[in-house]
Symmetry: C2
Subunit: 242 residues, 2 copies
DNA sequence: TCAAAAGTGTTCCGAATACACCCATGC
DNA sequence: GCATGGGTGTATTCGGAACACTTTTGA
């Protein structure tokens, strides 16, 4: 259903079509975790403006796609992976934020298991590379602002929802989980207390499997139980790590 | 700085300007609180499409405004108030969500002290009216989806940040605050414990003033201390109500 | 045997819970 | 006096913090 344009005048009688001149883009903050470091995948721009600058992977959106589709496409082209955990977090709309025209961008943060994939090169990026979130290069456009907000959002989210698991392999030890949270939040947990707290939540399923090839007592492996979380949440449970 | 368009070809060599055909709008969910009820201000549409339907107040965005400006304008035209507490919460981008073209809308929720203002009529609305958030009419466009997400966001936010005060008059009693939270969250608090918890946070400043004209012992009035909250937050304090 | 990390148990403290109870005001 | 909500005190419980300790593996 497309209605007649005459219906669509603004309060000041501006013709409807005058409003349809925005560009939309998505920018993705892809987080990973390796060797105790939280990392983000950046690309080196292969074209002006900001050629050779590091930037967030992103793209202009075409009229046939939702923002979620567009962000999924960016992540797929970047990693070869589908169904990456991904969540919208903010719209950036400064009038002069993009040098070529009025582009509003929607930020998505996404979480992957670093080991699972190799970032691939693409037409819009000459290179892609993981950066420790505490050692970031200068970025193109307003991407520093976007990335800062993404990091803040991740730190807040990770305390209130069990999404940290998306950064770990499907099977993990409790100490690996603890180290991840320590890297994300920037402080230490007491090992026995962290264990007790996480296990008391009943979100982790112990597996009949242990670490191998470690030069110490091998740790039991666990997996996260998303269905269990769903059930608990409906019963009023709130995931909460301080 | 406007760069030459030749720089801006997509991966498939689509000319840059082909991307600049989106309409942007903002939709505002204005929450209020009165007589123990959480309410939202809706407008009755005065024009097609969805003429005579109840809808969220909103507007198309012009190229010279940020989204925040646009949302502030909507709220100002609606209430006559400036500097209303307001926060972006989601972008809605279903391809067919608007019957006349590709309009992406950004949802803002906002909080006002109901007593402070009278909703005013405007060109795009024949009427505006407060609705209890549990007794909502049928809505235009995808506004039900937007409103539902706004309510969910408010309930979550109100537990983790001291924004509930935005819905109360500047001076309030502890029981008024408790009733507000009970209405927002849908469950009861124990009076002595609620008092102790809130006062122990040191966010409330007791005033040398009490209720008047009440047929019972007049309650002490308090005000919220935003500077104190800022300080505490920087020290690692997390507002938290279960 | 030693290093390293896994894993358990216990004590202590403070916050949340569940109450009972008294206070001040208008009618 | 009595109804109404304001406001305080206390006993109990529960969870988190701190920390000591034992266990299991590889080298």
């Amino acid at each position: 259903m497309r209605l007649d344009e005459k219906f669509y005048l603004s309060e000041n009688n501006v013709p409807f079509k005058e409003f349809f001149n925005f560009g939309m883009s998505v920018d993705c903050i892809l987080f990973g975790y390796k060797n105790g470091e939280v990392r983000v995948l950046l690309i080196e721009r292969g074209a002006d403006p900001f050629k050779h600058f590091w930037a967030l992977p992103g793209d202009l959106v075409t009229a046939d796609l939702t923002l979620e589709d567009a962000a999924s496409n960016v992540l797929y082209r970047l990693t070869g992976l589908e169904n990456i955990f991904m969540e919208q977090f903010h719209a950036f709309s400064e009038v002069q934020r993009h040098p070529v025209g009025r582009v509003i961008t929607i930020g998505y943060y996404a979480l992957v298991r670093s080991e699972n994939h190799k970032p691939v090169a693409s037409a819009w990026a000459t290179e892609s590379k993981w950066f420790n979130i505490n050692k970031l290069p200068e970025l193109a456009f307003d991407h520093k602002e976007i990335l800062d907000l993404a990091i803040g959002t991740l730190k807040r989210k990770v305390r209130n929802e069990p999404i940290g698991f998306e950064l770990l392999p499907p099977k993990f030890t409790l100490l690996e989980l603890q180290k991840l949270y320590e890297a994300l939040l920037g402080y230490k947990f007491d090992k026995p207390n962290f264990r007790k707290k996480l296990l008391s939540m009943n979100l982790l399923v112990p597996l009949d499997e242990v670490q191998s090839n470690v030069s110490h007592r091998p740790a039991k492996l666990f997996k996260f139980d998303p269905d269990r979380y769903k059930t608990l949440k409906e019963e009023g449970f709130h995931f909460d790590l301080q």
